[in-house]
Chain length 340, copies 2
Amino acid sequence: MTIEAGQARSAPTLEMVAAAAGVSRATVSRVVNASPKVSPCVVEAVQAAILRLGYTPNRAARSLANRRSMVIALVVPEDTTRLFGDPYFAAIVKGITDELDASDYVLNLHLARSESAQKTLAYLTGGNVDGALVVSHHSGDEFLSTLGRHLPVVFGGRPVDPEAVDSIYIDIDNVAAAYDGTRYLIDAGCTRIATVTGSGDMPAGIDRLEGFRRALAEAGMPADLVADGDFTMTGGARAARELLDRGESFDGLFVASDLMAVGAVTALRERGLRVPDDVKVMGFDDSPAALTGEVALTTVRQPSEEQGRLLARTLLQLLGGEDAARRTIMPTDIVVRQSA
Amino acid sequence: MTIEAGQARSAPTLEMVAAAAGVSRATVSRVVNASPKVSPCVVEAVQAAILRLGYTPNRAARSLANRRSMVIALVVPEDTTRLFGDPYFAAIVKGITDELDASDYVLNLHLARSESAQKTLAYLTGGNVDGALVVSHHSGDEFLSTLGRHLPVVFGGRPVDPEAVDSIYIDIDNVAAAYDGTRYLIDAGCTRIATVTGSGDMPAGIDRLEGFRRALAEAGMPADLVADGDFTMTGGARAARELLDRGESFDGLFVASDLMAVGAVTALRERGLRVPDDVKVMGFDDSPAALTGEVALTTVRQPSEEQGRLLARTLLQLLGGEDAARRTIMPTDIVVRQSA
DNA sequence: TCGGCTTGTGAGAGCGCGCTCAATCGCAAG
DNA sequence: CTTGCGATTGAGCGCGCTCTCACAAGCCGA
């Protein structure tokens, strides 16, 4: 054969396959799209031609004609450090990719922090994507809320923006989960409990603090030992040190993420405090981070991977024209290990 | 204004903007693409119309006409666990995104392991992407080598496939770097040195073992204490235990990645060995993992983030029609901390 | 005054594909 | 032998955009 480099470069088109198979473009199109009404022998001939030419459909053309791109975007308004640093994202992404692998859609990951946000938005609204999943949504990311006007969007976690009230999202009951976690510490005999919170601009951070407060209020304990750990490991350590530096001792510590809890435990031990003997520590997530530290964390488990899976499944439903529940709340429970 | 939902859903087109501005489609296109030969007053009118209608170019149409998608793919033939588990990837991705943020391209991340590989390949060769970066290339991923026939590709790390000899890649000299790391242990007085290797199906794994061997050979030491750690933390721990179980004691351990080294150090300490007093441990990468363990790792530093940046820059050059060096070797050095 | 030039603009042909609609072919019923 | 119907197939339009080319002004020197 004399199919040379030049030929290989310019990808074969439907037209060329049609010519090679001796049929019309429409018929090749039918074969490619597995239309039932093509006679078997023609199907065979066309498939042979496709194979021979190494034909791959041009998705730009297809999506132009089709008005569908078969691409789903995962938008994460975080920087690389956060994305890769927190195993929570790993779980979410795994759930999503697992679910999508079984579909015809491919996944696009967008780290949409600050500068590139505008470019990302143009990309998302430019018809490149049939739908979007948004995870780790901060206040200040309002541009994402408007996304819903252009395409189907499913949020992982309740959106902060009040404008986005009718968004579809999948979340856990952060207030109740944090309440339960704190309650566990109380029931374990802690008499003075502090907390390391997540970011104050994220619902997960705000709601977990709220749950913590409620549990303490109910038990008649003060909820004044609060420090912000910003959902990072070093932040967790810093927050724990800050709490210790206030001079008031505590025997329970509720931390709003495992990653921060690992940092906090390290900080406590630096100061000579034993976990759980001197301070009982409750994490949140049950991410792999819970097991990386020197003390295995007792933690509030949230089903992150399952959440990712459900996010994807919900979006696929929407894209398939089905309805989807506006809000889905997933269950949490407490995993008891060493730290509390 | 009576621009209602229905209107907002079907995105405004060039045509509509043209009508609104009272000019032709071609002129609007020129404005959108910042062509210099449009009179200032027309530019202004068009931009006003664009703003008023909320116009965003349809990228499918654009890429169809243009034969360029302004999208770059990052292909990582790993599963989510590996990708998120190893800080090396975080650094690479950060470098790439930083560089791309300044360009007009957007990044697509593809986890192309096994089942979804075929779908990914179709995507990549379907004209959705102008170029690709491939990182963490294993043998067995031959499909990636053929990618170069369809579009510009830059590899992070020398490709394994001999067919891909003329690929463009950016790497470090793994043999020399491992040699240096091992040499450091020898110079530090170690008399019996073991190694935990990376995957045997990746150049990085193979070459680092080779460098280790050379250093020991040169010093007249046997290089028989070798165990595979598969580039994961738990794998590193397992490999270290395996080495200890052989009954032959060693006082130096060269580990082919920091992540594995963290696992190995944990394993050594479990067995009551002190690091660095009983066993000096040398890591590789200088990733954040080097600092997460109980002992800060002395390690061979490779400039991962810079490598990511360079990968992106090189691909942009290729896409811009410029030539690029077929192979670029980045420098490494040794960062001395506690473990050796 | 005219031809040549630059500069800005519009008309129109694709880019590769899906989809509608009409045409064709058998074949059984009337 | 004609009619009708289902099963296949092909012709051609349109998706939204870029780009080439031709055209309309406005300007210069001759």
